[in-house]
Symmetry: C2
Subunit: 160 residues, 2 copies
């Protein structure tokens, strides 16, 4: 069975996002195993300077690099990545598994963005939107897109 | 005070999405008045044909056209619209209000998409992503983006 890992900085504070993620992951369990790897968020001082923000990104980057599974295909979510449709994400996931990888790790950075080293460590950079979303909302969007992709691949009629 | 209307087909079934929308609309009330205009969703038969889907879109389109406020600037959310960043959305909203419109209506179509006539009736077509989202999730994303835009314009430090 396909193993999906969601590697993520920070916990989900908002109850509604936590419930939404839970719901999609429950539905996902019909198609794959899902493992959440939640890493500690770095707390910047109030009104952080650019250097302080860079430090947060670097420290969170260290944690992400250490936690990235050695095996499998890695997809980093970042705004400068490639935008693809839900159907194309489904095809992408199919081609990864056909090539022999039975493990796909999606990586979501922290509130201030993702370290360049993490982006380089990934096999693919995926952009969901030109808009900036909260990284917590991103986790819901990602769970729904993975569910949508696996539903497309299984010939399901999920569409809303 | 700026008036934001969210014109929308279908109710929010999932409790977590309803709560998320509620939370962002509460925060939005510091910046603007928000009015939700929720229209009845058309129920297609099981496994609808293309013609049946087209009929759903047309009927929902009739309702949207009737409900669109006469006044103000209208922004239709559709996948073939223009993608802009959150900062650009903020600038767009600022330029609309500077030009004298104190009312902006965002329009979200139903589960099967938006009638072409509605898209034509809008002043602007906005695309959030190449990916397909549920139209319920779209309402959360939109509320968060409007909040983010108004926060940017007010010089706030909301970023996550």
């Amino acid at each position: 069975m396909l193993q999906i890992n969601i590697l993520y900085v920070g916990n989900i504070k908002d109850k509604f996002y936590a419930e939404a993620v839970q719901e999609y992951e429950k539905r996902l369990s019909a198609f794959c195993k899902v493992k959440n790897i939640e890493l500690k968020e770095e707390k910047p001082p109030e009104n952080p300077s650019d250097a302080e923000i860079a430090l947060v990104i670097r420290k969170e980057g260290d944690r992400l690099l250490e936690a990235i599974p050695k095996k499998g295909y890695k997809i980093a979510l970042c705004v400068e990545g490639t935008q693809i449709s839900s159907e194309e994400l489904a095809k992408k996931m199919a081609s990864v598994t056909v090539s022999g990888d039975s493990e796909i790790t999606f990586i979501i950075g922290g509130a201030f963005g993702m370290d360049e080293r993490v982006k380089k460590a990934a096999n693919y950079r995926l952009s969901i939107s030109k808009m900036t979303f909260t990284h917590r909302m991103m986790r819901v969007i990602l769970a729904e897109q993975i569910y949508r992709a696996l539903n497309i691949l299984s010939g399901g009629n999920y569409h809303k």
